[in-house]
Symmetry: C2
Subunit: 332 residues, 2 copies
């Protein structure tokens, strides 16, 4: 039924080895032989069976990207970039939605997809990588995000403390003095970004009011909306809010609109991620903009380097460039 390598060899009048050499771009093939083989491949519509190849080689040229949820715009945009970066290098990305289950558990349970994939780019949410060991994984792994890699894994992340400090400082620079933070939950993201937020307040000699730090239950629009409602109910509401991601900020802006308030006039709002949504919202959203293409390209490169055998090199920690995008929600 399916065409096999040997069929191609027969059709081209060469050995299977030669066909394999052509397919895998090995040297020492004359142009004439290559042409013959390629003609046979085209004539038969032959496609290599990746299961067989990967069984034999122990490599599949598939990598996995594990993200909390693909419907979240930041991860959707990141996934698109990583998929593109991988494709440029001839490898395919499988997207894995962890959906907030304990991702380490999932990783181990799934057994890395039965060894199909060569490595994984992992954006953890519940897992503490410090507890993950290389042995648990058994494959190269690149971490994304603020969680410390514990010297065990390669990692690509924005300097979240610095970026959060910049975002908060920006609010101070436009004259705000009572600045809230939304998203200070128990996650690494919450912890690290709060650190930057507090650092900026301190540097400006501003008091730190615990009532202005809202945890919420997640990082979605609805959580931002709910947290903003809490802030508006305060005896003394803030004049600015730093939301730890854009989704929270968008939700917060909705609450302001519902309350008949305007950003930045009543309350200035700044986010983090620079998802496209924020660039079209009314008002447009000021935000920290990490270079997602850079992030994707470097995460893939790091992983492929490990897969290629650089297993013993020291673990690398790459810092993603970012900019502060000032838009309507803090300008005017």
């Amino acid at each position: 039924m399916a065409t096999r390598l040997s069929d191609v060899a027969a059709q081209a009048g060469v050995s299977v080895k030669t066909v394999s050499n052509v397919i895998n771009d090995y040297p020492h093939i004359t142009a004439r032989t290559r042409a013959k083989v390629e003609a046979a491949i085209a004539a038969l519509g032959y496609r290599p069976n990746v299961s067989a190849r990967s069984l034999r080689k122990g490599r599949s040229d598939f990598i996995a990207l594990a993200i909390p949820e693909m419907a979240s715009p930041y991860f959707a945009e990141l996934g698109a970039e990583i998929s593109r970066a991988a494709k440029r290098r001839g490898i395919t990305v499988l997207i894995d939605q962890t959906e907030g289950e304990s991702a380490a558990e999932k990783l181990v349970l799934d057994g890395m997809r039965g060894q199909l994939i060569d490595g994984i780019i992992f954006s953890p949410i519940t897992t503490v990588p410090a507890k993950l060991t290389v042995a648990d994984i058994g494959k190269p792994l690149v971490l994304l995000g603020e969680r410390p890699a514990g010297g065990q894994f390669d990692r690509v992340a924005v300097n979240s403390v610095q970026a959060s400090c910049d975002a908060t400082t920006h609010l101070i620079s436009i004259g705000r003095r009572r600045i809230a933070a939304i998203g200070v939950g128990g996650t690494s993201t919450g912890v690290v970004r709060r650190k930057g937020y507090r650092k900026a307040l301190k540097a400006a000699g501003l008091p730190h009011d615990p009532a202005l730090e809202l945890a919420g239950t997640g990082y979605h629009r609805e959580d931002g909306a709910a947290s903003m409602r809490e802030l508006l109910a305060l005896p003394e509401p803030p004049d600015a809010v730093f939301c730890f991601n854009d989704l929270l900020a968008l939700g917060a802006l909705r609450t302001l609109a519902d309350a008949g308030l305007r950003a930045p006039h009543d309350i200035a709002v700044v986010g983090f991620d620079d998802i496209e949504d924020g660039r079209y919202h009314s008002p447009t959203l000021s935000t920290i903009s990490p270079d997602k293409e850079w992030l994707a390209d470097n995460a893939v490169a790091l992983l492929l380097d490990r897969i290629a055998g650089n297993g013993e090199a020291a673990h690398r920690d790459l810092t993603v460039p970012y900019t502060l995008q000032i838009r309507e929600s803090t300008a005017g």
Copy 2:
């Protein structure tokens, strides 16, 4: 290095056949044997090698989802649902970004990922499925969207003509008379939704003005923004716009905001897709809301049925339930 089936068999003191039976949940295993095998699996941390399994069985329990772009919220949300629906049935989804390349070309070129996947759920953009033959694909395929399946494939789609007619009729019902349409491009989506749009105008006895039908170059926010600018530049701008997807509508709303105009006061806007973004935008976006979970579940079920061997059954065409969500952009 890696643990194999035979290692498990040795550890449990049974045959490889028995281990295989346990793993694949075949009958005729005593509880005692099963327990022994499971203990051995746990002790050794054994995971089946999916490449070997799929090579042998000719089935991988992987399916592909081919979408134009995963960073587009509608497709991201749909991908999340399909991924979830598949996981419930024990199968894994590989997401494939076609990125507007001729997708049929891509499908054939990629050779269905070298036979790794068992079937594909395909949301075409440039391809004309009528030209695709089952032989080209060689695997079960379920089509998503308005393109006619030509009786060759299973298909799951919203009745776009009806839904577009409903959306337009809604604009008429709130008193609008000069209703524009954005997104009437050369794609199937554009053609079909325009049909519903025109149908509604005709039913209401409203004139059809070609100047109010804008094609744009795509279905992104920026295209909606550009089209709305064109409409505002008209000697006689519309009092309402039906955008063929939410992204276009969100872009159109941005242009209105930039021009100091308000929806629905100056121009009412309705979209199509019901992405989360629209529910938080200011104003919130009225839209056609297809049941994405229903869509995902049925698309996966249809595909798995074919994969299971129902290859010869007549091709099915499923219609996705939808509702019209009336929000701020048309109410008030």
